[in-house]
């Protein structure tokens, strides 16, 4: 039923790079013909898989009686740990993520066994019939529990410079405080899904909604007890990822593959939304405590800050995530004397994982909270305190981890946005409004963002591509990056089309497959276009160089004299169409396929001390948010947003703008409405959209202005662009601080105590506390 929609008659601009080109799948998406894993035609004999889950947060399994599961009508196979031919684990870094629990469960929802049946409904019904007896063990659920019991998943880390403790005691002003911030469910609209199709002689083909096909391939192979070369993982697109399909897809892919391997039949595992929310990791929640010394202008002289995070039951990516929190606990501010201590707690909850920003938002919210508290303590405009602390000048450009900030532009962004958003005039108007309004109070905040680009695990900063030019001149593009809506495929195709000087419509984009480009890194860390764009550029250049050498020899000119543009190749009087050139090169036996590779230069960081240069460059941004709160109900409303964001020289401004808008809204959800509630028994009580509220269309104000800074990246990235996936997420910190400003206006003095997310309950409590005079 999937008729091909007609191609748009609109001419494709050349060169394609830096143009507003729509997402390559847009025509299919609007027609409903873009296929996600669950839309693939189901192969004959397909089995549907469901998982049995732990009911306890921490317990020994005394017995597991699966007889009723096995005999349920339609059930074809039941698999437990004993049925795994290879390794019972899908941990990405450390092997502590069992596929099926054997004798111990460590979170509610942990996978115990799989049931495969002829229908999905039968598999799900059968999974509920297991009789499991447990011996309950003490469960560590919250950060406070973990702190009290010294429960660490990884050793603490500390970055220290100067004399923070000595300077604290001599500072003119000193303040301490704390802040708790919640986690966040990814809520990708398409839930986790994998379909495994067994091939001959132990081969396995897995269609998987994942950001990390190579890792899924490796973990599936390891579970099957086979070399990686028996497994192909393929992903054409995801219905959203946001970090939630980086490591979290592996469990479901492995289970589908194990069932397919055991039964010889294709197997599909699609999680129900509730199960997805219960079984998959989330953004880490953090608690922050700080002690800060500063001068009369609010300039920080010394800071001692502690970041504690709930990592859940396994290691997953918690090491790198908490490292990134440390790397962002400075944001845009120079901290001469500083000590940052990071605790990574083990709890009996689902293992927390990557989520857009990867610890960066938590580190940044922490320091922004400190700066805001200083401003309220001194009675200054928070913007002036932010400005007083900015990086700048040769003696104020070193981060706590020893990387020099060489590309700082946040000061200019603040100035420009302050004026274009009329920040000062609005601040004055808001003060007048608040003076006259007893119940409704408004608040405004302008906050900057500096986000480091590169995987902090340095070896991951590599990428590969494969380009094939067919003898008719059409081009097939494949690279290791995955498409989750961000438009990566489109951007990379733009780059490749321009290398050959052909129209974008001549470049065919294909699904990411581990048998085309091996050993790829996850599409994560915002680095998708930086890495895959460059690798594809290099592959295309290799082929173009061969074509150039061939035609230059024939024409008797230097290859450097050739120009590839508008579907033609030319040099002075000579001209040939790209298609004809390719045809002739083919006949002359010139190789028309090539791989390309790219490894990010300059980066180098010590894994233990975290000192060094973890990032190739920084991306910057700034946002102004204005809100109104109702001091009788705690309800908040976002009134206006003004954003200025740095994408370098954007590869595709309209796609980048979409990333900025989507990221801000997602960040605003994290900080104002999305609340994860675990009860004392470790059960997630907000496991469906009925109780877990993500931003809706009506939560966004009419006034939502986004401007891109069109300024080339100082570093030699692909066409001097900058990564854009994660940095704008943290622009939403301005919304949270605007709410704090409105709470401050409700009465009282000094810093505002308000944990995130700033739900109506929390806002109301904060208002009450201030009105009762307990605000300081």
């Amino acid at each position: 039923m999937s008729a091909r929609p007609p191609r748009s008659p609109a001419p494709i601009p050349f060169p394609a790079t830096h143009q507003n080109i729509r997402h390559d799948s847009a025509p299919l998406h609007v027609a409903g013909t873009a296929r996600y894993v669950d839309d693939m035609p189901e192969p004959p004999g397909l089995l549907h898989v469901a998982l049995g889950q732990s009911a306890k947060a921490h317990a020994r399994i005394l017995s597991m009686d699966l007889s009723a599961v096995r005999t349920y009508p339609g059930v074809v196979a039941v698999l437990t740990a004993a049925d795994i031919p290879g390794m019972n684990d899908v941990g990405p870094v450390v092997a502590d993520d069992p596929i099926f629990a054997e004798s111990l469960v460590e979170y509610v929802g942990q996978s115990l066994f799989a049931v495969a049946a002829t229908t999905r409904i039968a598999a799900r019904a059968a999974a509920r019939l297991a009789k499991v007896t447990y011996e309950e063990l003490p469960a560590i659920i919250s950060i406070a529990d973990a702190r009290a019991t010294d429960s660490h998943i990884l050793p603490p880390k500390r970055v220290e410079r100067g004399d923070p403790l000595g300077t604290l005691s001599t500072s003119p002003h000193r303040l301490s405080g704390n802040l708790a911030m919640g986690g966040q469910d990814h809520f990708y609209l398409e839930g986790q899904i994998s379909m495994a199709i067994p091939g001959e002689d132990g081969d396995m083909h897995v269609l998987c909604s994942t950001q990390h096909p190579s890792e899924v391939q490796h973990l599936v192979a390891r579970a099957l007890g086979r070399p990686d070369n028996h497994v192909v993982v393929e992903v054409r697109r995801m219905g959203g990822g946001f970090g939630g399909k980086e490591t979290q897809a592996s469990l479901f892919a492995a289970v589908a593959a194990l069932v397919a391997d055991r039964t010889g039949r294709p197997a599909k595992l699609r999680l129900d939304r509730d199960d997805d929310m219960v079984m998959t990791g989330k953004r880490h929640d953090f608690e922050v405590a700080y002690d800060v010394g500063f001068d009369d202008q609010g300039r920080i002289l010394a800071l001692d800050i502690i970041l504690e995070s709930r990592c859940g039951m396994s290691t997953d990516l918690s090491g790198a995530i908490n490292d990134r929190a440390i790397f962002h606990a400075d944001n845009c501010y120079y901290l001469a004397n500083v000590r940052i201590t990071s605790y990574r707690y083990k709890t009996h909850t689902v293992s927390n994982t990557a989520f857009r920003g990867f610890g960066g938002p938590q580190g940044m919210l922490a320091i922004e909270g400190v700066v805001d508290d200083i401003a309220h303590h001194l009675g200054l405009d928070p913007l002036s305190v932010r400005r007083a602390n900015l990086y700048g000048g040769p003696d104020r450009n070193l981060t706590p981890y020893g990387m020099k900030v060489e590309d700082f532009i946040a000061d200019g962004l603040l100035d420009r946005l302050e004026s274009t958003s009329s920040y000062q005039a609005r601040r004055t108007a808001i003060a007048a409004f608040n003076a006259a309004s007893p119940v409704l109070k408004r608040g405004i905040a302008l906050t900057p963002v500096k986000f480091g680009i590169s995987f902090t695990t340095s070896f991951l900063n590599q990428a590969g591509a494969l380009i094939q030019v067919y003898s008719d001149g059409s081009v097939l593009l494949n690279h290791g990056g995955t498409e989750m809506g961000q438009g990566l495929y489109t951007k990379v195709a733009q780059v490749v089309a321009d290398v050959f000087g052909i129209g974008l419509d001549r470049v065919r984009i294909t699904a990411t497959r581990t048998d085309k480009v091996p050993n790829t890194s996850a599409t994560a860390a915002s680095a998708g276009a930086d890495l895959n764009g460059m690798a594809s550029f290099n592959a295309a250049r290799t082929i173009r160089d061969r074509l150039s050498a061939f035609i230059a020899a024939r024409w008797g000119i230097e290859p450097s004299a050739l120009r590839f543009a508008n579907g033609k190749v030319m040099a002075s009087d000579n001209i040939i169409s790209f298609d004809d050139l390719v045809r002739q090169a083919y006949l002359a036996r010139v190789s028309l396929s090539a791989t390309g590779f790219y490894a990010t230069p300059k980066i180098d960081v010590d894994k233990e001390t975290l000192i060094g240069r973890p990032f190739y460059y920084f991306a910057y941004g700034a946002a102004v948010s204005e809100v109104v709160i109702d001091t009788l109900t705690g309800e908040t409303k976002l009134l206006a947003v003004d954003i200025l964001h740095d994408c370098g020289t954007s590869l595709n401004p309209v796609l980048d703008r979409g990333q900025v808008e989507g990221a801000y809204v997602q960040g605003m959800g994290w900080l104002t409405m999305e609340e994860l509630v675990f009860d004392a028994a470790g059960r997630l009580r907000t496991h469906a959209p009925s109780t877990y509220k993500i931003p809706g269309c009506g939560d966004i104000p009419d006034h939502f202005k986004v401007d891109l800074v069109n300024q080339p990246n100082q570093e030699e990235t692909i066409h001097r662009s900058k990564a854009v996936g994660e940095p704008p997420f943290m622009l939403a910190i301005s919304a949270y601080h605007a709410i704090k400003a409105a709470v401050a206006a409700s009465g009282g003095n000094g810093p505002v105590k308000l944990d995130a997310p700033a739900t109506p309950e929390r806002v109301l409590m904060a208002v009450r506390a201030r009105q009762a005079g307990a605000g300081a």
């Binding site: 929609p5 847009a26 013909t33 959203g240 809506g485 808008e661 959209p689």
Partner: protein
């Protein structure tokens, strides 16, 4: 036990025997292969599964297939013309970048078509209120609102 139902889907008559528990979303996707209707939340919250039932938009995961007996069902596949020509609302979502991952798009388009027909005006606030039942996790809704307005205008003019 199964129940015989007859309905019209995208203009074509359909008769089949269904399990009384079968959802309309499952009927469309699994029995008829109309996979443009997506299932995002399974619990009538996200709107990804929105289709038209006798001209009104419904969340097909919250309707039983037997409830559609005798009804006229229109899905995203049915609004594209037989020659592949896009409906003005589809064209507007494409032109105004009203999508990223695209998973919410078919439901958004179906919801927006009804909104365009019934809305008192095309003010931004009206559009935002009308789309409250459709969640998008990617776009931040800005381009969706633009697309809906443009699509609705095109529908009214065309």
């Amino acid at each position: 036990m199964s129940v015989a139902i007859t309905l019209t889907v995208n203009g074509a008559p359909v008769s089949l025997e269904v399990d009384p528990r079968l959802l309309l979303s499952q009927l469309l996707r699994d029995e008829l292969g109309l996979t443009g209707t997506h299932v995002g939340c399974d619990t009538s919250q996200c709107g990804a599964c929105t289709v038209h039932l006798d001209g009104l938009s419904v969340k097909s995961c919250a309707v039983l297939a037997v409830q559609a007996d005798g009804a006229d069902v229109l899905t995203i596949e049915g609004i594209t013309g037989p020659d592949g020509a896009l409906h003005p609302m589809q064209a507007a979502f494409r032109e105004h970048h009203g999508l990223q991952c695209g998973f919410c798009t078919p439901g958004m388009v179906m919801g927006a078509i009804e909104l365009a027909r019934t809305a008192r005006d095309l003010e931004e606030a009206t559009i935002r209120e009308g789309l409250e039942g459709n969640l998008c996790r990617c776009t931040g809704y800005q381009n969706i609102v633009k697309a809906v307005r443009a699509g609705a205008q095109a529908m009214r003019e065309g």
